[in-house]
Amino acid sequence: MTRNQSHIWIFLAPAVLIYSIFMIYPLLDSIRLSFYDQSETGDLSFAGLVNYVALFGDPNWSEPFWNALINNFKFFAMHMLVQNPIGLLLAAILSLPKLSGRGSYRTLIFMPTMLSVVIIGFIWQLILSPLWGVAEGLMWNVGLGDYYNAWLGEEGSALITLSLISVWQFVGIPMMLIYAALLNVPEDLTEAALIDGAGHWSIFWRIKFPLILPTIAMVSILTFVANFNAFDLIYAVKGTLAGPNFSTDIMGSFFYRTFFGFQLQLGSPTMGATVATMMFLVILIGVMGYLLLIQRRLTRYSL
């Protein structure tokens, strides 16, 4: 028995070591850091829950925090309501037996996902710019010019616009995952349903959809984790201030400002660690909730 166990540890050691050094230790250390305070000379001293009290109690901290958290949920909601349904729709269209040019569509729709977020942000900023962007001209050409607005510059629409840019970039991922799941549904099943008298609509919703549900759930939780870790697009388009008036501020950009500081405020590693810990907790709660409440009830069917 002893010999058995020792060789198990030897085989596990490299992965455990690397994972511990680069994942577990930094995570625990940043949680530890959130319980410290930094004096003006840079010395750290243990301060208990002071940072958390400040984050939730001091309006200077709590208002941007709640703003960022709520914005982040809006950002996530846009992805769930737009990205994943469109991904499902595209996957369903791609799996139509009579579609020609399937490969080209697949590649073209997936292409933006492979581009750098910074480039995507920059391109869309140029396209939508009211000064030199092509969006307004294009909209006038099709008679919709009256509806043009400087969407990225308006407090009410900036976050939605950024969400849609992100959706545009990443819609290929749910599409590919769901498309792969749809291909796995045996043709016999659809033919049996066809013979049973079902139309294409009910075949999709009553046969295929329940069978790909586990994949859709997985896509949703991946979207959740990615959205709550998002930062780069906001930074590329809006910079650290996540304007206008912090209306596009999400947890990632709020953390960045807190940790590294910006024009109006010095950076604080300890407060940054506190915000990072909160991000970790939000994602943890979300993923745990998914694992305990949703994934357990989903059955994967062997097809």
């Binding site: 045996p186 033919e191 066809l194 013979i195 097809l303």
Partner: protein, 373 residues
């Protein structure tokens, strides 16, 4: 209840002609088996009737109505797939009810019909289970139940038993026969297993290379195969098919030259088709040979292989450079290398002309004639 007519049905996938003009007439309530080797087009033909593939040319009539352009659900058919194709996320009950619920039948009626089908198939205690919790035979019964509840005019079976083990297959064969007796619906059954076809079907359709080879009752196919392909395909062990020549033809019959075979003149109804010198193929079923002697036809050779099955022994006999198969008494002590003489009734032979078409046999026993009519 429905009759089905196929009128010069053709099917091409791109440049490949899979079916090259098929004519079949299926009467109401008949059990018809499509047999043939893989790739002969039998499954494609079934899918054409089901409406899962489009018909390239020709007409499909069900109950005198042209069905070519109708969707599967408008054709009044039900199909049982080789893979069963049960919906894995639905219970047995829901699997069977799916077709009716899509058709928006009311709940009470659905329940009644599902329960009725479950009773016929002895599935009542499994209604709440999921397909993955069932054995192969039970899944097969659910697949059949799903067909029954819709009360279709025509049942289509696509190799329904080929995923089952041998014992279960024999049981299901009996159940299918019983089902056909109870429901009296028209059934079409695709199989590559000639035993299934012979035992179940009222009528067998033999397909090869996209063409119809023969349509007939099981005994007709066995005793009067229309051509070399059917002769070789139906019957196990396979019929001996040996090439030879016609030497003479007169009132006493045709005299043949078959190496190492002693055979007097033989008579066929359309013997006048043959002329002396014509190439022919002679066919004898292995079980028309006997080791008991006393028959006019004789074959001698050395034993190449003896497969003892208990009730009979299948021997391969090498005569010259021809190898014959014969079934002899199970207790015959013959060994490899032994010389053996087997005899046969000259009237039991089959004869095929140079194009492989069979000559019409005389003297089929009255019993067979009764069955053939």
């Amino acid at each position: 209840m429905a009759s089905i007519q196929l009128k010069t049905i053709k099917k091409s996938f791109g440049p490949v002609d899979v079916l090259k003009g098929i004519d079949i007439d299926i009467k109401d309530g008949e059990f018809v088996a499509f047999v043939g080797p893989s790739g002969c087009g039998k499954s494609t033909l079934l899918r054409l009737i089901a409406g899962l593939e489009s018909i390239t040319e020709g007409d499909l009539l069900i109950d005198e109505t042209r069905m070519n352009d109708l969707s599967p659900k408008e054709r009044g058919i039900a199909m049982v797939f080789q893979s069963y194709a049960l919906y894995p996320h639905m219970s047995v009950y829901k699997n069977m009810a799916f077709g009716l619920s899509v058709a928006k039948k009311d709940k009470a009626q659905i329940k009644e019909r599902v329960m009725n089908a479950a009773r016929i198939l002895q599935l009542e205690e499994y209604l709440d289970r999921y397909p993955r919790q069932l054995s192969g035979g039970q899944r097969q019964r659910v697949a059949i139940g799903r067909a029954i509840v819709r009360n279709p005019k025509v049942f289509l079976f696509d190799e329904p038993l080929s995923n089952l083990d041998a014992a279960l297959r024999a049981d299901m064969r009996v159940e299918l026969a019983r089902l056909h007796g109870d429901l009296k619906s028209t059934m079409i059954y695709v199989t590559h297993d000639q035993i299934e076809a012979m035992t179940l079907a009222d009528k067998i359709v033999v397909l090869y290379d996209g063409m119809l080879q023969q349509v007939g009752t099981p005994l007709e196919l066995y005793h009067q195969p229309a051509n070399l392909f059917v002769a070789g395909f139906i019957g196990s062990p396979k019929m001996n098919l040996i090439k030879g020549k016609v030497i003479a033809r007169d009132e006493s019959g045709i005299t043949l030259d078959i190496p190492h075979l002693k055979l007097g003149p033989v008579q066929f109804a359309d013997a006048q088709r043959l002329e002396p010198g014509d190439d022919i193929t002679l066919g004898i079923r292995p079980n028309d040979f006997s080791d008991k002697g006393g028959q006019a036809g004789e074959l001698s050779g050395s034993v190449l292989l003896a497969e003892r099955l208990g009730n009979e022994t299948v021997v391969s006999i090498k005569a010259g450079d021809q190898i014959w198969t014969a079934t002899i008494d199970g207790l015959n002590p013959v060994r490899l290398g032994d010389e053996i003489t087997v005899t046969f009734d000259p009237q039991s032979i089959h004869l095929f002309d140079k194009d492989g078409k069979a000559l019409e046999r005389l003297n089929l026993s009255s019993l067979i004639h009764e069955t053939l009519k």
